[in-house]
Every structure is written in C-alpha cells, then in structure tokens.
C-alpha cells in the first residue's frame, strides 16, 4: 500500500530552504557584524555538548507535539489545544511526582508519564466527544478549553502547589529518583529522545499498517466514503483526539522528568504551537516529523545562540521564529484552499 503520501520530498525541501534562508537574510541586515551573527546562528548549536544536547532534547519534545498534531490532521480533525494539553500533562506529572512517596524509580516514572499522557488525552478527548455528540467544531473547542486549562494550571502552580520559599513562581522540586537518565553531560538530553523516535515509528505503523489507522485515515480524507463503506466512523472523531492529546501530555511530563524537574509558571509555553509548525514542515507525514522537529529545534537553538553572542535582540529572535511560522502556515493554508476548490 502506498503510505508516503501527503507531501512530497520537494515540498518539504522548499519549506526547509525558506526556513533557513529567512533568518540568514534577517540577520545579515539587522546585525552590526552579520558574518559573526550568521556563524553563531549556524554553528552555535554544535559549539558545545550542552547546546547540542539541549537542541536534541527540544527536538524530542517537538517530535511528540508534532506527532500529536499530525495524527489529528490525518484524521481530518484539528487540535489547537496543544499548549494547554502540554502544560496540563506537565503539571499532572509534577503533582503525581510530589505525591508518589516511596515508589521506586522505574515504576514511579512509568506512573508519572502515564498520568501526564492520560491528562492530555482526556482534555483533547473532551473536544472529540463534543464533536461526536453535538458536532461541536473541535477547532474552537480545543482552543478555548486549552485557554481555560492554561489559567487553571497557572493557578495550581501559583497557589496550592507553590513553593513559597522560591523566588520563582514554581512548585517544589520533584524527587531525584524520578529524574530521567541523562545522555549528554549536563545538557537536558535524556532517554525521552529515544522514546520519542520510537513513538514516531509506532505512529507510522498504527496509521499506515493497522486496520484502525486505515479507518482513521479514510475518515480524515472522505467521511462520505467511510459512511458509504459501512465503517462506523463516529469513534474516529474521538480516538485521534485522544492520541493527539496523549502525545502532548506525554511531551509535558517528559519535560518535567527530563528537564525542569519542577513546575514553573508557563514553562512549557510554545511547545504546542511549535508542534503545529513541525507538522506543517513535515507535511504531516509522521516519518518527516523527525527531520521537521530537528530543523525547528536547530533554528530555535541557532537564534538563541546568536542572541547571546551577537547583537540580536530578544524580540528579534522571536520575530525570526514568527516569520518562519508564518511562511509555513501560509503555504499550508494555500494547500487547504486548493482542496476546498477541487
């Protein structure tokens, strides 16, 4: 069966060229010392194992969030609530970690990750359920729900779980036995990297090699056809949402156990939206998510290093990201318009 549809390698390549050349042009024209800025931009992420490791860890998180978005896209649904789902998954991981008592490391980690995953799945699942029952537009319901969840999580961190002795708006640190095994010096890179890549392949097999994946993809492509084929499709308005939210929740709990080790107000901000960008770079083919996430993490790391070493400002680095995001989404919307016309 043909599985690598959805986007050609050429399309991906064009996106990548754009994503890399835009920052270069912007840096070249905004910097006092463009050569230095550009050099830092490109080589910065490889300057130290610390930078490299953090970039790869960020890649892992983006792979999961990108995957979450991709699966929803494939099923013809949208999940715009990634921000809230990641954040809620993260805070659940923190709360469970702080209350898990003496549960041994491995079991504890599995419990915490499962809880984070389920939290994300539950939140997105609500939108899926609303769609199934009352045909509520999931584009809006996921987004609104996420907004509410973000405020709730802010409240949880700032109030009941606040570490009053800290100057940050943060919770207490989670027990050290729950920290994920680090792979590269002092950087955040940890075993979640391999688990994320494994998730991509599992998702690929699920989508393209399983009967449920077949049903989900057909539902995404042509609901009339699925109905005509006598396949009960209504549950496929919920299942992809559960998986999508689960991936976001998992990313949140990974970033707690592998990186932050505590909850800080707004600490996972951006992961949800960036997941969409990664999906769009990848043309929502699960396998392309890996390079898509890598390139996005590389761009983020590059702007960060360039900001520290050259005269690039904080706002400007965000602007570069915004321009890239804009270009990628613009392209996607063009595609969508074409589909509507066809």
């Amino acid at each position: 069966m043909n599985s690598v549809s959805g986007s050609s390698i050429k399309t991906v390549a064009v996106t990548l060229v754009a994503a890399v050349s835009i920052p270069v042009i912007l840096l070249a024209l905004s910097s006092e010392d463009p050569l230095q800025s550009i050099t830092f931009f490109f080589t910065g992420p490889f300057q130290s194992t610390y930078n490299l490791g953090n970039m790869l860890d960020n890649t892992a998180m983006l792979i999961l969030t990108g995957l979450g978005m991709s699966i929803a896209f494939r099923a013809g649904t949208f999940n715009l609530g990634g921000e809230g789902q990641v954040y809620a998954g993260a805070i659940t991981a923190v709360i469970i970690s702080l209350n898990i008592g003496n549960t041994a490391g491995f079991t504890g980690i599995v419990i915490v990750l499962t809880a984070g995953l389920l939290t994300g799945a539950l939140i997105a699942g609500i939108s899926g359920f609303l769609k199934k029952q009352w045909n509520t537009d999931e584009l809006i319901s996921t987004f609104l729900l996420s907004g509410a969840i973000i405020h709730l999580t802010d409240f949880l961190i700032a109030n009941p779980f606040r570490d009053r002795s800290s100057f940050l708006i943060s919770t207490e640190k989670i027990p050290e036995k729950l920290f994920l095994y680090k792979l590269m010096g002092s950087s955040h890179l940890n075993i979640s990297f391999f688990l994320s890549i494994a998730a991509v392949f599992l998702a690929y097999i699920f989508l393209f090699k399983s009967t449920t994946g077949y049903e989900i993809r057909l539902t995404g492509l042509n609901r009339k056809f699925v109905e005509y084929g006598g396949i009960p499709y209504k549950r496929h308005l919920v299942i992809p949402m559960l998986i999508s939210g689960g991936m976001y929740g998992l990313a949140g709990s990974f970033s707690v156990l592998g990186n932050f080790h505590m909850g800080i107000k707004g600490f996972t901000a951006g992961l949800g939206w960036n997941g969409i960008a990664v999906t769009l770079i990848a043309g929502n083919n699960p396998i392309f998510i890996i390079p898509g996430a890598l390139i996005f993490a590389y761009l983020e790391a590059g702007t960060e290093v360039a900001m520290i070493h050259s005269d690039l400002s904080f706002e400007f680095s965000n602007l570069i990201k915004a321009v890239i995001f804009f270009l990628i989404t613009a392209k996607r919307f063009k595609l969508r318009r074409k589909v509507t016309l066809g």
């Binding site: 010392d33 002092s186 932050f260 600490f267 520290i308 070493h309 270009l327 063009k334």
Partner: protein
C-alpha cells in the same frame, strides 16, 4: 504550487528585512579583538518598559565605556522563568564574559546552579541575596527600610488633611505576586512605617498574581479605595498602571516604588521611594573591573549608605504635599541617614 510560493517567500523576506534594517539601532562600535573586560547583562524579562532594568543597563554601560577595551552585551531572557536557567548556562558556557550581571531575587539560586558546572564564571547580582559562593557577589537593597519609608509616608497621608484623604485609617499595598522579599521585608516594613505614623492604621494587602494584568490591578485598587483607603503602594510592574487609573477615577493617591515617577500622573502619584540602581550597577562593575569585587559576600544597601531613599525633591511633591507631612517625612529620613534608626533585613534562604 511551489513555483508560486518562492516569490511569496522572497517578497515577505525582503519586506521584513527592509523594515528592520531601517530601524536597526547603530550601537557603539566595538573595539577590536583584544578585550580587557567583558560583561554580560542578563535581563530576566525585557528591558523596554522597565525603569529598573533601564537604570541598570545605563549604569553598566557607563562603567564599561570608561575602560578602553570593555565589552558589554545585554541579553534578554524573556518572561518564561523556566528558560532562565538554560539561557544563563549557555552564557556561562560560552566563556566569553568575565562577569555576568543580573537583577532579580530569583537569580542567586539560578546562578548558583550554573556555578556548579562553571565555577570559574563570576556573577554580580543586584536585588538578590546569597552568601558564601565564591563566584557570586550579591547586592540587595534594604527593602524593609524602603517599605518603612513608604508605610510612614502613607500613614502621614491618611492622617492628613489632604483633599483625597478621608477619616478612615486605612492604606493599601498591591503586589504583583507573593515572594519572600515582599512577605518578609517590604510588607512588614510598610506596616511598621504606617504604625509609626499612627498605631491604628490598618493595611489592606492584595496580590495581582502576575506583573502585567493592569485590569485586575485596577479592580483590586478600586475595592481597596472603596473600603476606605486613600493611598496605595503599588509594586506590580506593568500592572501598576491599573492602580494609577483607579486612583485617578476615584480621586485617591498612589505611592510608587523604586523609581520616581511623579510626572506619570501628577496629583495622583503622591510619593515615591527610590533606589540607586544605576549608581549601584556603575560603581560595582567598576569595582569588579578593578578586581575588587568581594565575591562570596552579600551586601545590603540601606538608606544610610544613600542607596535607598524617598524622592522628596520633586517639584510635584513639593507642590502637592502639605508642609507638616513634608517635615515629618524629612525628619524620618534624617533619622535613617544619621544612623539613629535602622532596620535589619531578614536573613532567609531563597531557592
């Protein structure tokens, strides 16, 4: 489809570039390769819109401009607190800077974390406290005294005959969030100062929950004013604007913290405590350049040393405040400056 994207991409890129190249600032030309002393200024937030950060940047730039091969780089960490540690680590890991300067009560703990990996990196942290780490020198203001001055002034206003003052002995304090300095230094100092004016004054303390929600700050302030308070000390960053709006709507007074800003709302802003952030950044960085910074120790800057004060020289203050209030405040300032009165900052272990 691709054929049509590419021109679009280029067009967007060119427009963006033109726009930004036209407004890029021409910063001072850096001196050539051999650098004598380089400083990274890490801002836990962004500079624009924050007077205390602007003061620090000014002071630091001045100090660096006075040596031949000085280099300074301002790095903005943004508002996501979760990213500060990583960013600071990257700065230290670059080994490019002799000194990292920052300001925020949370920075000592974060810097100590970085210091574990990069012990050779020196830190100078304003507005924070940490003793005993040989790479870190902290310099904080005596906020108990600063709070006391504010509380005393507010007490004088509420017991005065000023137009906006009523009979109720009530004053308010609005904070962006609860944090140890606030709970253990500013608020107790504020209360003690108010009590020094009149022991029956009660303090209404409210928290916005963040440093930007001006609308929430406005409604909090309105409810404090409604309950009978006539002056509110606001320490809420961008949300301060909401408190000023409420004061203006109801004809009440606002007291500012750290930065003198009478001109922002003449007649509404009745008073302002001040800190010498620019001077601190300038003098302490000069000290560091000269190799005289006492890393490992923590200094407290108080009213007596001239680091903390009350801006009672401003024309608007002079014009709007009754003479007896001015006299009593001056008297209190004199007592601090002469050393006959001083308050001890609490020692607590922040994380």
């Amino acid at each position: 489809m691709n054929k049509r994207i590419v021109p679009g991409l280029l067009l967007t890129a060119i427009l963006t570039v033109l726009f930004f190249s036209s407004c890029t600032k021409q910063t001072e030309k850096k001196e050539a390769q051999s650098k004598d002393y380089s400083v990274a200024l890490f801002i836990p937030g962004v500079v624009a819109g924050s007077p205390t950060y602007e003061m620090m940047v000014r002071g630091a730039k001045k100090a660096i401009s006075e040596i031949p091969n000085g280099k300074i780089k301002v790095i903005e960490g943004g508002y996501n607190q979760g990213e500060w540690l990583e960013k600071l680590t990257v700065i230290a890991a670059s080994r490019e800077y002799d000194l990292i300067v920052s300001t925020n009560p949370a920075m000592p703990a974060i810097s100590a974390e970085v210091s574990k990996q990069f012990p050779q990196q020196k830190f100078f942290l304003l507005d924070g406290f940490l003793e005993g780490n040989n790479s870190i020198y902290t310099f904080r203001y005596n906020q108990k005294e600063q709070g006391f001055l504010g509380g005393y002034f507010a007490g004088l206003v509420t017991t005065s005959t000023m137009e906006g003052a009523n009979k109720d002995l009530k004053i308010g304090l609005i904070a962006g969030q609860e944090y140890p300095d606030m709970m253990q230094a500013i608020l107790p100092g504020f209360k003690a100062g108010a009590a020094a004016a009149n022991t029956n004054i009660s303090v209404d303390f409210r928290v916005v929950g963040n440093w930007y929600d001006a609308e929430k700050a406005r409604s909090l302030a309105a409810s404090i004013y409604d309950s009978g308070a006539d002056i509110i000390l606001t320490i809420a960053g961008g949300a301060n604007q909401g408190v000023i709006t409420a004061g203006r709507n109801l004809g009440k007074y606002v007291l500012m913290y750290d930065v003198s800003s009478y001109d922002d709302a003449p007649g509404i802003i009745a008073g302002s405590t001040i800190i010498r952030q620019e001077k601190a950044a300038y003098e302490k960085i000069k000290e560091a350049i000269a190799g005289k910074m006492k890393f490992g120790s923590a200094d407290i800057a108080d009213v007596k040393g001239g680091w903390v004060s009350f801006d009672n020289k401003h024309p608007l203050y002079q014009k709007n405040i009754p003479q007896d209030v001015k006299d009593k405040l001056q008297e209190m300032l004199n007592r601090f400056e002469s050393g006959t009165l001083s308050l001890k900052m609490p020692v607590y272990l922040g994380k």
